[in-house]
């Protein structure tokens, strides 16, 4: 009798375990995508996939931060050769997993047919062309009934073997996309979501276009330019630059009238100095020290005057060397300047001004100059793109700005950061990317980056305080970026 009860209890326990296991499995399946290919399934735990992959391949995924809350992990696989990419959130959940085969092998073609047929049993796939006019590519999509899980296969022109198989967890992808201002955009750049799923795609693309196509930046992103010059002495070259004799092709493209205007302007803005031309140009100081000078981004017309960037390469070399030495006490400044020169009717010099492009930077160089003629309601001004270098003991870096030069005498009034580059001490490579103003909380500027790496794109967001005059300093931006975990 007693034995019978033990058996009964045993059976009840076994049943309980069985039902419990089934219930657990049911709940687990509810949190994982029904769209499975081999071991790849969105919604699962990445650590489990990683262990299994390591058991089979003896390799580990290479993971990189895409945003603070997600990383993109990649592994090359053999068998059906190709690349597996997994987007994992900060709770080890697979938000998306995709496989890009190396080539259209029969094995891949048949596996894809089988997988598509299995997915088709759950929900019929819908085929379309990503770009309706483009007949060279097509895509078949599946979506679970509740909309939480998606999958697609993208085909090239031949259309029988997918070039990409993608499985996604929509809720987790949406959460990652909303985790920072440019997260969704960067997910799209990495091909993990589609551009049509990025809420601010148009606005971000517009900002990037201003950088790439030299369009004027949005006034909403402007902050006042710094006015007070950094209290550092100017860099002095160690030796005089020898003046080289002119050749047939020296100063090609420089008219006699411009050359003459430059000579008179240099003498005016650097009193006692003179401009000497040869195979290049030199400014010779009152003490006879010659220093090579370069004029960049020259704009304007002869009669109305010119504006040009002025840069002394030897000074910049000294500034760069001291930044690399990372001893702040020895830092010096080598600012690029804008030279404004206007001739009078009798061809003499009417006026000339020289203005540092950046009062804060340790070194700078003028990249482009665009003269904007006055228009209805908009006074004439000059848009200058320049690179500005900054450094501390822990890093060196640069920011490309677009600044507006206006007023009389001309000065930098407002500016917008466009690009950055930063090399932290001990790091093998510099990190670089676009800077986009994504918010302007009181007394602060929120900046987000888009950084292109060998493996794809990443973004970081920093909030940078402005000074009492509302000035956003380059040093502060780079300090904040250095303080965030750089995406590897």
């Amino acid at each position: 009798m007693r034995r019978s009860r033990i058996f009964q209890a045993g059976i009840a326990l076994a049943l309980l375990i069985f039902v419990g296991a089934k219930a657990f499995r049911y709940v687990q399946l509810r949190t994982q995508s029904p769209f499975v290919m081999w071991e790849f399934r969105a919604g699962g735990r990445f650590s489990v996939l990683e262990k299994s992959a390591f058991r089979q391949t003896r390799q580990r995924f290479a993971c990189n931060d895409v945003v603070a809350s997600a990383r993109l992990c990649e592994m090359r696989v053999t068998g059906i050769g190709g690349v597996v990419r997994v987007l994992v959130n900060d709770r080890d959940r697979i938000a998306a997993v995709e496989f890009a085969p190396d080539s259209a092998t029969p094995a891949m073609r048949e596996e894809a047919r089988r997988v598509a047929a299995e997915w088709g049993l759950m929900r019929p796939g819908a085929s379309s062309r990503p770009v309706p006019s483009d007949t060279s590519a097509s895509i078949t999509r599946w979506r679970s009934e509740d909309g939480n899980w998606t999958a697609f296969m993208r085909y090239d022109r031949l259309g029988s073997t997918p070039v990409l198989v993608h499985m996604g967890d929509e809720a987790t992808l949406a959460a990652i996309g909303a985790s920072s201002p440019l997260a969704a955009y960067v997910l799209a750049l990495n091909g993990v979501i589609e551009a049509s799923d990025v809420p601010n795609a148009g606005a971000v693309s517009e900002v990037l276009a201003t950088t790439m196509y030299r369009r004027a930046t949005d006034p909403a992103n402007e902050t006042p330019s710094p006015r007070a010059t950094t209290a550092l002495e100017l860099c002095t070259p160690e030796r005089s630059d020898p003046i080289l004799a002119a050749t047939d092709r020296s100063l090609d493209g420089l008219t006699e009238s411009v050359k003459s205007l430059l000579e008179r302007a240099i003498a005016a803005v650097y009193p006692g100095s003179r401009l000497v031309t040869g195979d290049g140009m030199w400014v010779v100081s009152p003490t006879g020290v010659s220093e090579r000078v370069s004029f960049s981004g020259m704009a304007g017309v002869d009669s109305a005057g010119i504006v040009t960037g002025v840069d002394f390469p030897a000074r910049t070399a000294v500034a760069s060397q001291r930044m690399d030495d990372a001893v702040p006490e020895r830092f010096c400044r080598a600012p690029a300047a804008l030279l404004f020169a206007r001739p009078s009717d009798d061809d003499s010099l009417a006026d000339a001004h020289v203005v540092d492009v950046d009062a804060e930077a340790l070194a700078s160089d003028v990249l482009t100059i665009d003269v904007v003629e006055p228009d209805a309601g908009t006074p004439g001004h000059i848009r200058v793109r320049y690179g500005a270098a900054y450094a501390t003991t822990g890093w060196t870096g640069s920011i490309e700005w677009e600044a507006v030069f206006a007023e009389d005498p001309p000065r930098s009034t407002v500016r917008v950061p466009l690009l950055f580059s930063q090399h932290s001490q001990g790091a093998e490579e510099a990190v670089a990317g676009h800077l986009i103003v994504t918010g302007r909380p009181d007394g602060l500027i929120e900046l987000s980056t888009i950084e292109q790496k060998q493996w794809g794109f990443s973004t970081r967001t920093v909030v940078v305080p402005v000074d009492s005059g509302g000035v956003l300093l380059g040093t502060r931006i780079l300090e904040r970026l250095a303080g965030t975990q750089p995406a590897r």
């Binding site: 058996f7 059976i11 088709g120 049993l121």
Partner: protein, 146 residues
């Protein structure tokens, strides 16, 4: 009532019976699944190779899947206006998930596999052939015609 020391207790007998019942149920469910798929895919499937007008060749194959698990295949070839019927092939088929496996009772040899994708049957033998010969024989697609 006392029972023999090594006899199976009644409770355990009951659970064994339950397990056996469950096993039968699972097997039956699988069979039901195959029967359902068979019912769904029974039809004529057509594959056409039309190389006209570049060459005067047109081939039409019709694969017929029957409810009793048998299949037939006919091939009609037109060359320069002449129509020629190849010897028909036939056999039995079974279904594993989304895979249709045809065994020929005429030609013998290895079974031929197809993936059932909606209204189409995609041949699934190329990977195996490539592993043996190094060549990709391509993909045959039969599309449901009725």
């Amino acid at each position: 009532m006392p029972h023999a020391p090594f006899s199976i207790p009644n409770t355990f007998r009951r659970s064994l019976a339950l397990t056996a019942f469950a096993l039968v149920f699972v097997v039956a469910a699988c069979e039901d699944e195959e029967a359902r798929t068979r019912k769904r895919i029974v039809a004529d499937y057509v594959r056409e190779i039309d190389m006209r007008p570049r060459t005067q060749i047109y081939v039409r194959q019709v694969l017929t899947l029957k409810p009793d698990g048998r299949w037939t295949r006919t091939t009609t070839m037109e060359t320069r206006g002449q129509t020629e019927e190849s010897l028909p092939d036939s056999g039995t088929f079974r279904i594993q998930g989304v895979t249709l496996i045809l065994r020929s009772l005429v030609e013998g040899g290895q079974s031929r596999r197809f993936t059932i994708g909606g209204d189409s049957l995609f041949s699934a033998n190329a990977a195996q052939v490539q592993a043996l010969t190094g060549y990709d024989i391509g993909e045959e697609v039969f599309v449901r015609s009725r």
